[in-house]
Symmetry: C2
Subunit: 305 residues, 2 copies
């Protein structure tokens, strides 16, 4: 079953009357693209992060919340292998928050933005009147194509493609979700070495996000359970494969490419790249378990709705 979030995204995409010549990439990818002149385009992503949903101010600092909000949007730039340009920030402040809290949030976003020379160029800060109103942070980031590879979409996976992930997956809520490094540089380097057919960042869990690539590409996939690189935190959870498949907030790259392009990534030095399965022409995702049996894999990651 498709997550509710994906059904509503499909509905929005179906409403769209955008001219593809002016908007080469619209609703449904990690970023949308606007063509401004013959060789000039810009991409945009927006994300709303809320206290109690994406971070918890009872257990993390405002600096960490600011960092995570900025890093999450930068991860969307990585998801399409584009170069971050600048950001704008809109923030809803709880009653009682003032200059000190604003500056702490700012420090976090500066720390994330400085990784990729992406500065905030404008914004809007407003306070809730309702005393129950909680912090919400919305960063919108603009990026540009890398020049060496078109922005990588979700809809380009082809049967026979190898499915790869960077780093390790699962258990991010134990800590990584607050201090991950968006894979902007890795996406840049990977797309310099190889042609990538489909890519996104893993935010809602491998099962849910691979399902998005498969649905948009009108293909299926077989994952190999014992190939999936799980994190130490996933190991600690007691069911590392389950954690790696469904936990989400990994902010790693998930991409597909042909076998011959995959060879071009041989010896890639910056981060582990692990093949975890193949794209098939049969819809749906199957997973081959260590005991040799194959099961249907439902998208059981995080559904925002």
């Amino acid at each position: 079953m498709q997550p509710k979030e994906d059904l509503i995204t499909s509905w929005f995409a179906a409403q769209s009357t955008l001219d593809p010549a002016q908007f080469p990439i619209g609703i449904g990818d990690d970023m949308a693209e606007i063509q401004l002149a013959k060789d000039v385009s810009i991409l945009i992503t927006t994300d709303m992060l809320m206290d109690g949903t994406h971070f918890d101010l009872s257990t993390c600092t405002l600096e960490q919340a600011g960092y995570k909000a900025m890093a999450s949007s930068l991860s969307d730039c990585a998801a399409m292998a584009t170069i971050p340009l600048s950001a704008v920030a809109a923030i809803s402040l709880p009653v009682g928050f003032g200059e000190r809290e604003i500056k702490e949030l700012h420090a976090g976003r500066v720390r994330a933005g400085a990784l990729f020379d992406c500065e905030v160029i404008g914004g809007d800060i407003t306070k809730w009147r309702d005393p129950a109103g909680k912090l919400a942070i919305c960063y919108t980031i603009l990026s540009k194509p890398s020049g060496h590879h078109p922005p990588v979409r979700r809809n380009g996976a082809r049967p026979g493609d190898i499915i790869c992930v960077t780093g390790s997956l699962g258990g991010s809520l134990a800590g990584k979700h607050l201090d991950f490094i968006p894979r902007v540089k890795e996406a840049f380097e990977i797309t310099r070495r190889a042609t990538i057919n489909a890519m996104m960042d893993i935010t809602d869990g491998l099962s849910t996000d691979l399902n998005r690539i498969c649905t948009q590409s009108k293909v299926g996939a077989i994952l190999q359970a014992d190939m999936i690189p799980y994190s130490a935190a996933a190991q600690d959870s007691g069911d590392p494969i389950r954690a790696a498949l469904h936990d989400g907030e990994d902010f790693e790259l998930l991409f597909t490419l042909t076998g011959s392009e995959f060879k071009n990534l041989d010896g890639y030095p910056d981060i582990a790249i692990t093949p975890v399965g193949v794209i098939t022409d049969t819809p749906g995702i199957q997973i081959k378990l260590p005991d040799g049996t194959t099961q249907k894999l439902e998208p059981k990651g995080y559904d925002h709705l």
Copy 2:
């Protein structure tokens, strides 16, 4: 005294290390501008509107909230006389909201966007986990320069300039704030007829917003109380001049230009343009009252913080 919001905006602007060649307009105007190629630039604005602060779902519909959020950002395009291109939407949904509520919000933003052919090209919707979490809507709009006039900033007012406003002011909360038409077309036409030195939209009240133009332009102003065009709703308030000066949410244009340029607006057909005062070289804003006396005018409009 400067509003707290303006003090923190100045602090952010002072932190900025943006290269003006790449970012001709940064923090402190209605939109920021990014230069992408020799003759290609894009502008961006982001606004967060919250239930209980900018609209009240106990007295307005979701469609109206969606309209207002989109129209508020379109008004920023008008404020600089730029052409809206497209928008992205980020929304935090209260617990219990689902597809029906999302589609109602969407209908409102479509109604506003259709006025200027500005469509939503992407977004992010997330639900609060906290049952007290209220609706927050963040629309970010991209625009482009008109081609016939550079984007109009706040910092260009010069002593001797005539200060003008469009339409009538005050009492917007009686209804107009939910169904105003952003002055995009008027800003386009005004800047086609005349060179405008400084402009913004009136969102926080004439006293506060004129103070912003004066502060950024390092000038002062004298307003003529009996020239200020107040609305019927301001009249109903019992103190129409006070309402017109401080109420805010008028979403009318406030601009300054030389006397000879002002003549070019003679007979402008689309909306009333009223001269309300002059720019001076003495800092601060004075207001000349109907009894002939002159008083200092403090910015007493809406302070977001």
